[in-house]
């Protein structure tokens, strides 16, 4: 915590509490302690006071204990020579400021000074100050600013904030650099559906004046509400926040801590301080930080970057003059973007902005050569796609740039080289998610009518139909699609997305090389990612609707038995959907490194299987093998006579040496029951060094469907070499030569299979 900020906030708080005390004393003398005190049309009394202290202020006299409490929260200024932590003190002073500010506004109501008079001004919808049902409310909206939000509006907006239709609210305090800037900032907020509250001034000039001068309509109807032209009126924003917690959080008055936490976790609000920040603004900002609302200033002020009370930074300075941008609009956009980032507001893109129909119904469309306008990749050209994670500051959200020419100069049914580079940034983004997200490009692009996407990485192949091109579909639209879809579908981990499309040969080749480096890095990373190197595996309960007691445990070296989910996929899935089917399993104590028992996996197996399974051995088929649902790619089964196991794939309908076909075996292997000697697996698990490692590993495989041999030639060869027997695959029988145990034994003898001389498997 900056000592500078602490000093100024504490000073501001002291001054405001003193002022409130003075005003109260005067009011008590002039009006008497029994004079009623209330904000209009609310059942929550003075809401911040009611929420934080539980005191239902109904008359002037009730304010006395409130201000006593505020005074007790004040702290002396930090000593100039001592650099101690001031966070607690500053937050307390912030809270004192809020209580005092609300008391002051309440007293002003008694004197008729609130809502703040503004002759000639008309609200575009606002709080009714008589009764909500009285008349047409016209008089109620004339000649004054809005003051506090009433309960009816609170419920209407509150629901939208809670259900996500409204991403959050901005409390703007002060005065923008110019009227134009004020308008731009408000427009940027409105464009994102962010509710905006206005208050405060700099040297008497408020953003409210600026907007009125520019003819911007203010009021409920425009989601931009003018509270008052002084800083004190910003208290209404926190009254709104407090009431949200009481209304939608089911919280009770006086549950101060819970109310503050509720706001921090669920109300995506921030303070945007425009212009010079004085003591009172610092004090009020400290109050807002209590709610988890960060403060972003457009002037130079000390920053408080470490996170703690707020989700991310507490105070961020973004001096207007230093913001990049060619005009006020761009600067305003950057500033608002920063606010959104700092608070972690998630803004969705409603529609995918492309000139062709878009939706999953078009995913399967094929663009035939005859209908094609242009293609990228395939036989005659090259296309690649590369998604990488970069720092927040390196991405301009929504920016789509084409470097090089579009395809207009290409003859019909022609081709050209093209690279798509997607740069994403997000507070929750991890480098490991790059490939998971990159794979989505295929689905996202395919959703556009008249666009076909095949392949991935540097073998991507995209076709655009003549019809789509005629409707105006161009390369930039690929970027727009990706931006919209990544923001919408992966908003949990991606905050900003920027897409650059390269057709200019020089940068194209530069980025192709970079992409290949990344692919290579990812391949090595995957190979390098072993079970020993992680602290958690992931569960997968996607299939429990078929096999209620089955749980997949997915580790870096053992992918899900359906073959569809590896460890990284699960990890990403968990980040995107924390209540979903993939949950982390903390490994805890390692009980047996050979068979693969951990405390954590055993416990999870027990809970996840609802008690049906007590333990699971990650690396054995003979003892407590992992259960299976029914969607396994292969079945591994013990062949006792051969001292080994066979592997039959789903594609193989033939008889196996176990005397059963795949479908008969599936009845034994599936259903979530633990049957030692039988196991359903994903085919890539066969290649893992951990494949039935406890039972002797891959060398135990005596028979394997030829389908597997043929579809994984190179991979199996590598396994054979790893096992120290380059001819191992040739020694393994398959259905073309062997379908009974007797034939198998003859084969194994003839081919000198190592299983015959291995120790007994049981």
């Amino acid at each position: 915590m900056s000592r500078y900020i602490a000093t100024r906030a504490i000073r501001g708080a002291n001054a405001l509490v003193t002022e409130a005390e003075y005003m109260l004393a005067k009011a008590l003398a002039e009006k008497g302690p029994d004079t009623p005190v209330a904000f209009p049309n609310t059942a929550y009394y003075l809401p911040v006071i009611y929420g934080m202290t539980g005191i239902a202020v109904q008359k002037l006299g009730d304010l006395k204990p409130v201000l006593r409490h505020a005074r007790s929260l004040l702290h002396p200024l930090p000593a100039p020579r001592h650099w101690t932590p001031y966070l607690g003190e500053t937050l307390d002073c912030g809270m004192a400021t809020l209580l005092a500010a609300e008391a002051i506004e309440a007293i002003r109501f008694v004197y008729g000074l609130q809502p703040e008079p503004m002759p000639g001004f008309r609200l575009a919808g606002g709080t009714a100050f008589t009764s909500p049902d009285a008349g047409d409310g016209r008089e109620a909206t004339d000649g004054h600013l809005n003051g506090p939000i009433d309960d009816i509006q609170l419920r209407s907006w509150g629901i939208q904030l809670v259900d996500g239709r409204m991403p959050g609210f901005a409390a703007i305090v002060g005065c923008a650099k110019s009227n134009e800037v004020a308008v731009e900032i408000v427009r940027q907020l409105q464009r994102r559906n962010i509710l905006t509250f206005l208050s405060g001034n700099v040297n008497g000039r408020s953003i409210i004046h600026q907007l009125i001068e520019e003819g911007v309509e203010l009021g409920y109807d425009t989601y931009t509400v003018p509270f008052g032209t002084d800083t004190i009126s910003a208290i209404y924003a926190l009254g709104f926040a407090t009431r949200s917690a009481l209304t939608f959080g089911g919280l009770k008055p006086g549950q101060a801590r819970e109310i503050l936490l509720y706001n921090r976790e669920r109300v995506f609000a921030f303070v945007l301080a425009l212009g010079e920040v004085d003591d009172l603004k610092y004090a009020a900002a400290a109050g807002a930080i209590n709610f988890g609302f960060p403060v972003i200033a457009d002037t130079v002020i000390p920053e408080i970057l470490p996170t703690g009370i707020t989700r991310y930074e507490h105070v961020v300075s973004m001096p207007w003059n230093e913001i990049e941008g060619k005009d006020d609009r761009e600067k305003a956009e950057r500033l608002v973007q920063k606010c959104i980032e700092v608070r972690g507001v998630k803004v969705k893109v409603v529609d995918v902005p492309v000139p062709v129909p878009y939706g999953s119904a078009f995913e399967g469309e094929v663009v035939r050569k005859a209908d094609m306008r242009v293609e990228f990749g395939g036989k005659y050209s090259r296309a690649f796609e590369y998604l990488r994670m970069v720092d927040m500051d390196e991405v301009v959200d929504g920016k789509v740039e084409l470097v090089g020419p579009d395809f207009d100069h290409i003859p019909p049914q022609g081709h050209m080289d093209m690279g798509i580079v997607v740069e994403v940034a997000g507070r929750q983004m991890q480098k490991d998610f790059e490939p998971v997200l990159e794979r989505q490009i295929h689905y996202f692009i395919n959703g556009a009518s008249g666009v076909q996407h095949i392949g991935q990485r540097d073998i991507a192949w995209i076709r655009i139909s003549k019809a789509a091109a005629d409707k105006g579909f161009r390369l930039e639209h690929l970027g727009k699609i990706l931006h919209a879809r990544f923001k919408n579908d992966f908003g949990a981990i991606v905050d900003k997305v920027q897409v650059t499309i390269y057709t200019d040969p020089e940068p194209f080749h530069y980025w192709l090389a970079k992409a290949r480096e990344a692919y290579d890095y990812r391949n090595r990373r995957l190979a390098d990612l072993t079970d020993e190197k992680v602290e958690e595996f992931y569960s997968c309960t996607l299939c429990q609707s078929f096999a209620p007691n089955h749980v997949c445990i997915v580790s870096p070296e053992r992918l899900g038995l359906c073959g569809a989910y590896n460890w990284l996929d699960c990890k990403a899935s968990f980040s995107i959907n924390p209540t979903g089917p993939n949950q982390p399993i903390k490994l805890g104590r390692l009980l047996d490194p050979v068979k693969g028992y951990w405390e954590g996996t055993n416990e999870y197996a027990r809970i996840g299987s609802h008690g049906a399974v007590e333990k699971v051995a990650m690396y054995s088929i003979m003892e407590n093998p992992m259960t299976a649902c029914g969607c396994f790619e292969c079945i591994v089964m013990l062949i006792p006579e051969a001292n080994g196991v066979m592997v039959v794939s789903r594609e193989d309908p033939s008889m196996t040496p176990a005397g059963m076909t795949f479908s008969t075996l599936a009845g034994i292997a599936g259903g979530g029951l633990q049957t030692p000697g039988v196991m359903g697996v994903g085919k890539y698990y066969l290649l893992s060094p951990k494949f039935i490692a406890a039972d002797g590993g891959f060398k135990r495989v005596v028979w394997m469907s030829s389908f597997l041999k043929e579809t994984m030639v190179a991979e199996l060869k590598a396994v054979a070499e790893r096992e120290g027997d380059p001819d191992l695959i040739e020694r393994i029988a398959d259905e073309r030569y062997v379908t009974t145990v007797d034939e198998l034994l003859v084969w194994l003898e003839e081919h000198n299979h190592p299983a015959l001389t291995m120790p007994p498997i049981f």
Partner: protein
Amino acid sequence: MPVEILKETWTGAVQIVTLGATPAEGGTRGRTVTVGGERTLPFLHFEAPMPHRPALAVEIKDRRPDDWSPVLLRAWGDVVDDPGAWAQAAAAAGADLILLALSLTDADGRPTTPAAAVAAVRKVLSACSLPLAVFGPGQADADNELLVAVAEATKGERLLLGICEDKNYRTIVATALANGHLVNARTPMDVNLAKQLNILITDMGMPLDRIIMDPTTGAVGYGFEYGYSVMERLRLAALQGDRMTQLPMLVTPGFEAWKTKEAKVGNGVPAAWGDWEARAINWETLTALGLLEAGADILVLRHPESVRRLRLAIEGLMKG
């Protein structure tokens, strides 16, 4: 030969949930309905008493339904033209609570307005003192628009609002939170999806004693066994202590049974199907009875005779 009475001991219990609020509790209902609290599988009284008997809800509509079987319309008669009268008839037929299902459109095909929905709810509330559940037409936008208006107009009644689904629950939960109502969390016959939705709803701050879960079901012959097993599994998980499955269950055998061909169609069906009306009612009865045995806490029925029969079954099952 002495036989050991093998008792299961469970660590978990089903959440107790009360629907409706009396004037003393901030509502206007003549009585409330409390469900849940089971500490063992349905009706195994020798292991643990069943503190609250399952409740029977009768489904009514805000106007004469377009697509209901003539058998049903005959059974109710003219009351289907007036939700208030219908609610009274349902109460007379033995309902413990009323479920008002709002129509998507009015009789002329215009979208139901929030004002019309509120008016229908008010009619029911003033005509009948039983606790009330109000379900939207089942389309996200319409549900949200109508239920928010209904929730605000009936603050404090502890209505059961539905339908919350994974794609659309936030608005309904928010308005239920703000207005002191309960929500019905519906998921498509899947234990994990049910849990997940319960987690999401409680994450919004909805207390567990204001959530009913609706695991959905199929009528006999139309996926009944899926719903049945999902309910058995949910209840077992609840008793084993899994907090997010410990909610009372509401199911809609009436809705499911009466949309089957067996219930809807009288002519041109095989003779082996037997008498239309009796068959239709049997279909609803057996679907409901099966779900009762699987752990249903609230059965939503449509035909008065089914209500009578299920009442007999529940009485029989509660005699421990």
